[in-house]
């Protein structure tokens, strides 16, 4: 078992374990904490896939920003923390069924599909290459700009919704 395989399994266990905690724990703050661990595991997977840039971005945005935001929201809606309410609704069995069905379906499809994998594994992935892919030949310039507008709109929208009834 080489270090790549080893790391993959360790990370997988970490990701799936934390993710199960996220959806099953009663204390929502603990959920958020495990969510952060999930994100870090995913960042590790990214690094395994030679996407160092995305791994760093994953940590920066998901761990550093989104988890903190979620913690903020949790603390602002604090009445629901700490009280050991039932955290699942009556749809839970159906949800398990859906999830399992989905997993089985994907497994069946994936096992029966031959992906056109390229044998070439020497990829010169660097930040510059991604930059060129997004902006270089103009291929993704417009989506990039649209994404920036989306972010701006989301920011304004979030502020407006969140301050809501002040005015």
């Amino acid at each position: 078992m080489d270090w790549h395989t080893c790391s993959f399994y360790v990370l997988s266990v970490m990701i799936l374990g934390s993710a199960l905690m996220v959806v099953s724990l009663r204390n929502i703050v603990h959920c958020a904490l495990f969510l952060a661990f999930t994100f870090m595991g995913v960042a590790g997977v990214f690094a395994l896939l030679h996407a160092e840039f995305l791994a760093a971005v994953q940590v920066l945005i998901y761990v550093g920003a989104i988890t903190v935001l979620i913690l903020f929201a949790v603390m602002l809606t604090q009445k629901t923390i700490g009280i050991s309410l039932k955290q699942t609704n009556r749809l839970a069995p159906l949800a398990v069924l859906s999830a399992v069905t989905f997993l089985c379906m994907i497994a069946v499809i994936a096992l029966n599909t031959t992906f056109p994998t390229s044998g070439q594994h020497t990829v010169a992935v660097s930040t510059q290459t991604i930059g060129s892919a997004i902006l270089g030949n103009g291929s993704y310039v417009v989506p990039f700009e649209v994404a920036s507008i989306l972010l701006l709109a989301a920011m304004v929208g979030a502020i407006v919704i969140a301050r809501g009834q002040d005015n």
Partner: protein, 102 residues
């Protein structure tokens, strides 16, 4: 040796967990977290295919960047909505947010 299938299984499992969370959680913030899990699953898939199927073009990574962007926007707006709902209804229990019921 790890193949693309391993990543697909990982991603599918993470996505399935996300589906469960989205449908079953009562806490709105929990639902949002589950959605984030699903988005991460998608990103794993994208990067795995980018790595194994098209190692030279990096299209998958570019898409992953966009997914992360959208996720950031989504979580900001989503949490703002949650806070607003909390202000108006004093709870964020998705089950009981059913004003749109017949």
């Amino acid at each position: 040796m790890i193949a693309v299938h391993h990543y697909i299984f990982l991603s599918a499992a993470l996505f399935a967990v996300g589906i469960y969370g989205v449908i079953a959680r009562r806490n709105a913030v929990g639902v949002l977290m589950s959605i984030e899990l699903m988005l991460n699953a998608v990103n794993i898939n994208l990067l795995a295919f980018a790595r194994y199927v098209t190692p030279t073009t990096l299209t998958g990574q570019v898409f992953a960047v966009f997914v992360i962007t959208v996720a950031a926007a989504e979580v900001a707006v989503g949490l703002a909505l949650v806070i607003n709902v909390y202000r108006n209804m004093d709870h964020i229990n998705v089950d009981d947010i059913n004003l749109m019921k017949w």
